[in-house]
């Protein structure tokens, strides 16, 4: 399977994306998936438009992208984490 390029973004690219980045890293390891994680500000997503496979973000985005966008707020609040993980795993395996 091709290594997936996953964008992990938040507003400033330093705080919540760090937590989400780590959570995905652990998930990928547990499931034996190879991913290329790129931690950025949400405003920088456009630059990766043609090369990314997935965007996981805690910030809102109104833009349309050619790859799935998953909201990862649950990693911060603890509410609905299971569902978010499931969505991410499905996207990584797709």
């Amino acid at each position: 399977m091709k290594k997936k390029k996953v964008l992990v973004a938040c507003g400033a690219g330093i705080a919540t994306s760090t937590v989400v980045n780590n959570a995905i890293e652990e998930m990928a390891k547990e499931n034996g998936l190879k991913v290329d994680l790129v931690q950025i500000k949400i405003s920088e997503v456009g630059a990766h438009r043609d090369t990314a496979d997935l965007l996981v973000t805690t910030a809102m985005t109104k833009n349309e992208y050619p790859f799935p966008v998953i909201n990862a707020r649950s990693f911060l609040t603890g509410i609905g984490t299971g569902q978010t993980k499931k969505e991410i795993l499905e996207a990584l395996k797709a």
Binding site: I14, T16, A59
Partner: protein
Amino acid sequence: MRLNESTILLNVEAGTKEEVLRVMGNNLISLGLVKDSFVPAVTAREKEYPTGLPTAGVAVAIPHTDVEHVLKKTISIATLKEPVTFGVMGGDSSESVKVKVVFMLAMEEAHSQLSLLQQLMQLFQDEKKLMTIVNATKTEEVTELLYNNLGLNTQGGD
């Protein structure tokens, strides 16, 4: 990570999130922990990328901004006398949440705060501990809880 009682503000009276950010940010400026540009930067970012988190207990917000506005990495905490409306992180612009505790993060370096941030998120998910902060009448109660839960040094420094 610097944490001292002067960055803990209890029972702040504020009507809007802008007011909360100003009170907290100006305090950090007066302590020499962030630059003057921090307040407008954090306010602008909050507008564009809100940081309210509808956690299980009381809702919190974690306003922060780019590293160039920060002099020393710091967490500032404010409990609010009356809840203040913040936008919801990752929500659409109509979503809002009544926030009772604000954790203002002054990050100095990108990508270097993982364990602290993880512990902070754990704290948000612990309703009992959040209530301890909300109900605190002395700043020492908050610093002690943070010290025990975030592994921080209570006496300034790094």
